[in-house]
Structure formats: structure tokens, C-alpha cells
């Protein structure tokens, strides 16, 4: 017997087989462009100015941050419109619920697919960025599972949010007030110590900050036990997100 969660996962995989080419190109292009533009262009200015950022050439500071930020963006893209579509438009969840699959299987199968997508994207970026010579430690390979954890820490609560919305207007709010500020201010492009005090507090509370710190430690090989704290912080977001999503899905589908 195939586990019901795997059967729900298979649906998303079957669909992805039809659409992966498009997402592979666009999903990889954006972070590589950022790496080239900011890393080489801005990085050149920084080299002649302060020299390094947190002791790293700028592009080596930037690359792990982009890896984490890309995981966040892929996860959020996959847990907003596709979730709403599966509930309201294509009603895929409803079709699944006319089989032995349960609400929990449906949620876990979709979340599993998002993890797969994020992992694939992270691996792609890892390879592409390697051509810029930005990875100084082989430990960076572990940044792929960390990227998956970052993705899940965002996807689970966002799925709860998506399942509780009646229209997709809420998504543009999520992007403008959540995703874009996080992308800019949570330690991807510059250390959060550059921010005014109160903003540092906000930045440090975001999962992206902790994801970025972890990816940077793996990329440079400077790991310590303290990093387990960052993993735990992401795991808490995932855990609470799953509980909320489970509740929101039941409320929406079982009625």
C-alpha cells in the first residue's frame, strides 16, 4: 500500500511534470541575476570601500542569503494561489476528499510537494552559484535540506492563511507587507546590524533571518552548536504552521 500522503503528493508531482520547464527557468533566473548584478556590481564597490562584509567578499555574503530568500519565495508562491485554486477554483482538494484520502493526507501531500519544489530550486541555485565561486565549504550541500526547512517554515503558516481567505486580494497584501520587506531587510543583502534598533528586532523575528544565518554558516563552514537554535526556531514556525493549516483546512473543507 502506498501511504495516503504519498498518493496526494503524486498528484502535485504529476502536474509538475507538465509545468516544470517554465518554473525551472524563471525560478533560477531571478536569484542568479541578483547574484550577478548585486554580487559583482555592488560587490565591486564594496571591495574598494570597506573591503568585506562580515569578513566575507560581498558576493560570498550574498549568495547564501539569496539561497534562503529563494527558498522563502518558492514556498510562498506555492502555498498561496495553488492552495486557493485547489480549494475554490479547480477544487482539487474536493476531488481528493471523494477518495479515502483525509484532510491531513491532503495537507501533508501538498506540503511535501512544496518541500520537493524548494529542494529542487535550492539544488539548482547551489550549482549555478558555484560557477561564481561563492561556496568555500563543502558543507554547503547541507544548505539544501536547510532550504527545505526554511520553505516549510513559511509554507505551513501561509497555507493556513490561504485556506482562510475568500479571495486572492489578501495575497498582494502578504507580498507587499511580508515577502518584499523580509526579502530586503532580513539579512539577505546586508547584515541586520545595519538597521536601526527596533527594526533589528523585527528582522531577527522573521524565519528568513534564521535561514540566512544557517545557510551562511554552511557556505563558509563556520558552524557552531548555537546554530541548532536557528534550526529549532524554524521548526517551531513549521510546527505551529501545520497545526494552524490543519485547522484551517478542516474548517474550509469539512464544514
Amino acid at each position: 500500500m502506498t501511504h495516503p500522503t504519498v498518493r496526494a503528493f503524486e498528484y502535485w508531482l504529476t502536474r509538475y511534470r507538465r509545468t516544470w520547464r517554465g518554473t525551472a527557468v524563471t525560478g533560477l533566473l531571478a536569484p542568479v541575476l541578483f547574484l550577478a548584478g548585486m554580487g559583482l556590481g555592488l560587490g565591486g564597490l564594496i571591495r574598494t570601500g570597506t573591503g568585506t562584509v562580515e569578513g566575507l567578499p560581498y558576493i560570498e555574503f550574498l549568495a547564501p542569503g539569496l539561497l534562503a530568500a529563494t527558498a522563502m519565495q518558492t514556498a510562498i508562491a506555492e502555498s498561496t494561489w495553488p492552495v486557493m485554486a485547489a480549494i475554490k477554483w479547480t477544487r482539487t482538494y474536493s476531488a481528493m476528499l471523494s477518495s479515502p484520502l483525509r484532510v491531513g493526507d491532503i495537507l501533508a501531500g501538498h506540503l511535501g510537494f512544496i518541500a520537493f519544489r524548494v529542494g529542487l530550486g535550492a539544488a539548482g541555485f547551489l550549482v549555478a552559484a558555484a560557477f561564481f565561486g561563492v561556496w568555500s565549504s563543502p558543507l554547503v550541500l547541507f544548505a539544501v535540506p536547510v532550504a527545505v526547512l526554511i520553505g516549510l517554515a513559511f509554507a505551513a503558516p501561509v497555507m493556513a492563511f490561504s485556506a482562510s481567505l475568500d479571495s486572492d486580494v489578501g495575497f498582494s497584501l502578504l507580498y507587499r507587507l511580508g515577502v518584499i520587506p523580509m526579502f530586503l531587510f532580513s539579512g539577505t543583502f546586508f547584515p541586520v546590524s545595519q538597521l536601526p534598533g527596533w527594526m533589528q528586532g523585527v528582522a531577527v523575528a522573521t524565519p528568513l533571518y534564521h535561514g540566512g544565518v544557517l545557510c551562511r554558516a554552511l557556505a563558509t563552514g563556520h558552524l557552531s552548536w548555537a546554530h541548532l537554535g536557528h534550526v529549532a526556531y524554524l521548526a517551531v514556525w513549521l510546527g505551529i504552521g501545520v497545526v494552524l493549516a490543519r485547522r484551517a483546512y478542516s474548517r474550509r473543507m469539512v464544514r
Binding site: R7, A95, L97, S99, P100
Partner: protein, 289 residues
């Protein structure tokens, strides 16, 4: 509350219908039978199990054809069936074989590799029916199976449902089409405002709630109104905007009597009473919503 105190039994091998206007509670009842919405109170057994406890196990033996086709337009016709078979844990190869078998059954074998998007409404509905059959269900639930289809497509769907019925599949359907209920249902309940207002075979219901025949009279505009002149004819007289209906055992005799009373309707029609007459009598002529 969508339904209130409804009570019904469906026997194995039977085709059972829920007939009612929009908002009568048919779809809510179907969601409960499909083990999606748990009943808030009362007792419900589906295929011998309790949906609140064994929902997943019962759903494994059900086929569901929802009112709106929840097909995946990104996938091909055949992939839609295979993936649904996988939800039921059919091994991939078996799911594929079952998909081909069902596509032949619903006459879509030549569209197997097509995307879903370009299919006609009738083809999509047949594909949804095929999908509902992928696990060889003991009980097939259809929510308004032919709503929105053109007459040809409806007859094709009816033909397929009739064949399923003759193979012994238990069928439960909702409809607001009287002809559909008469064609397909061995037994049905009429629902209105969340309650069951009548139950029986289509023939029983007509016998119980209507006369054998209906005489329809149309009067030309400007003719003296027949008000009062038709009273006491037949079993019941109903005055509509454009015609008068007289419910009677023998329509022709009443038509003769109408003429004897000196009334000259522009058109006279005697027809057998149908489920529609029963339905309108029980649920009223005004719009539900």
C-alpha cells in the same frame, strides 16, 4: 441548518433520487452521504459504516460525481482518471487499465490524450462520471448529473447511468429535473426547505399526489374570463397566468364538460400527470431563492 430531521433508506442495487428545488438541502445531504460533512445530529449509516468514524474506509467504496466537474485542466483526460485511481491506491498499471476501460465505457477513448479544457460540457460530465467509477464503487453518488447539458448529452448520460444501474450499482442522485427522476429513479424523496415532503416510486407519487390526467386549457387574450365557470370540475383546478390546469381522472370527459358549459378555450390539451405536477404541488410554484 441545511437539512432538518430527514429520514430515508436506500437498498442495495436501487436507484434513489433526491428531488427538490434549489436550496432544498439536496447537496448538503449528498455531502453527508459522501462522508465529507459529518451530520451535526442524528444517525447516518453508509454502506453499513458510521461516516463520523469510518469516513475514509467508506469513501474507498463510494463513487462521487460532483455537481461542478472538479477535473484538472492541466492534465490529460486519461491522467485525470489515473491520478484519481491512485488516490484509491490502485497500482499505477491497474489504474491505467481501469482508465482505458472507463474511457471506452463513456465513449471518450479517442480523447484519452487530449487536455480536459477543449472537451464539451457533456464530455466533461462523462469524464467526471468515469472518474467516479474508477474504484468500482458499490454506491455511486451523483449531484445533479445533467444540469447544464444539452438534450443530446443528457440522453447519453442517462443511457450510461441506466447501464450502470442494470449492472447492479446502487445509485443515489439529486436532480431538479422531473424527467430525469422518472427515467432513472426506482424510488425518490421530494425535499423542500430542508425536509422530506414525500417519498415513493415516481408512479406512486403521481398516484398519491396528483390525478391520473391533467387537462390544460388556454384562453385567447380578451376572451371572457372563465373565473368560477370551471369550479367543481375534476379533482382540482389551478389557475395560472397563461392557462388553467384541471386535474382529473379522465381529461377528455372534463374537456367535454368545459364545452358544455359554453367555454371556448383557444387550446385544449389532455396529458398524463407527471412527477412535475407532484413536484409543483408539493414544493409550490414560487421561486425558492
Amino acid at each position: 441548518m441545511a437539512v432538518d430531521g430527514i429520514d430515508f433508506d436506500v437498498a442495495a442495487g436501487e436507484a434513489f433520487g433526491f428531488l427538490g428545488p434549489n436550496g432544498a438541502g439536496k447537496s448538503s445531504t449528498m455531502r453527508m452521504i459522501a462522508c465529507v460533512s459529518p451530520p451535526s445530529a442524528g444517525e447516518l449509516q453508509v454502506l453499513g459504516g458510521d461516516p463520523r468514524r469510518d469516513g475514509s474506509a467508506i469513501r474507498a467504496r463510494l463513487g462521487v460525481v460532483p455537481q461542478d466537474d472538479t477535473l484538472d485542466v492541466e492534465l490529460t483526460v486519461r491522467e485525470n482518471l489515473v491520478i484519481h485511481g491512485r488516490y484509491f491506491d490502485l497500482p499505477r498499471r491497474r489504474a491505467g487499465a481501469r482508465a482505458d476501460e472507463l474511457l471506452a465505457f463513456v465513449g471518450l477513448a479517442d480523447r484519452a490524450a487530449s487536455k480536459v479544457e477543449p472537451l464539451s460540457g457533456g464530455q466533461k460530465r462523462r469524464l467526471t462520471i468515469a472518474r467516479g467509477l474508477v474504484n468500482s464503487p458499490e454506491l455511486l453518488l451523483l449531484d445533479e448529473p445533467t444540469t447544464g447539458l444539452d438534450p443530446q448529452a443528457r440522453h447519453v448520460v442517462w443511457d450510461q447511468l441506466y447501464r450502470l444501474k442494470s449492472r447492479g450499482v446502487t445509485v443515489v442522485l439529486t436532480t431538479h429535473y422531473m424527467d430525469e427522476a422518472e427515467q432513472l429513479c426506482d424510488r425518490l424523496v421530494v425535499m423542500d426547505k430542508g425536509r422530506i415532503v414525500a417519498e415513493g416510486s415516481p408512479r406512486d407519487l403521481v398516484a398519491r399526489y396528483s390525478s391520473r390526467e391533467v387537462l390544460e386549457l388556454r384562453f385567447a387574450v380578451g376572451e371572457p374570463s372563465p373565473d368560477g365557470a370551471l369550479d367543481s370540475l375534476g379533482e382540482r383546478v389551478e389557475q395560472l397566468a397563461d392557462r388553467v390546469l384541471i386535474y382529473a381522472h379522465d381529461g377528455d370527459t372534463v374537456a367535454g364538460e368545459v364545452h358544455r358549459r359554453g367555454l371556448r378555450p383557444a387550446a385544449t390539451l389532455v396529458r398524463r400527470a407527471s412527477l412535475e405536477d407532484v413536484f409543483l404541488r408539493l414544493t409550490g410554484r414560487s421561486l425558492a431563492d
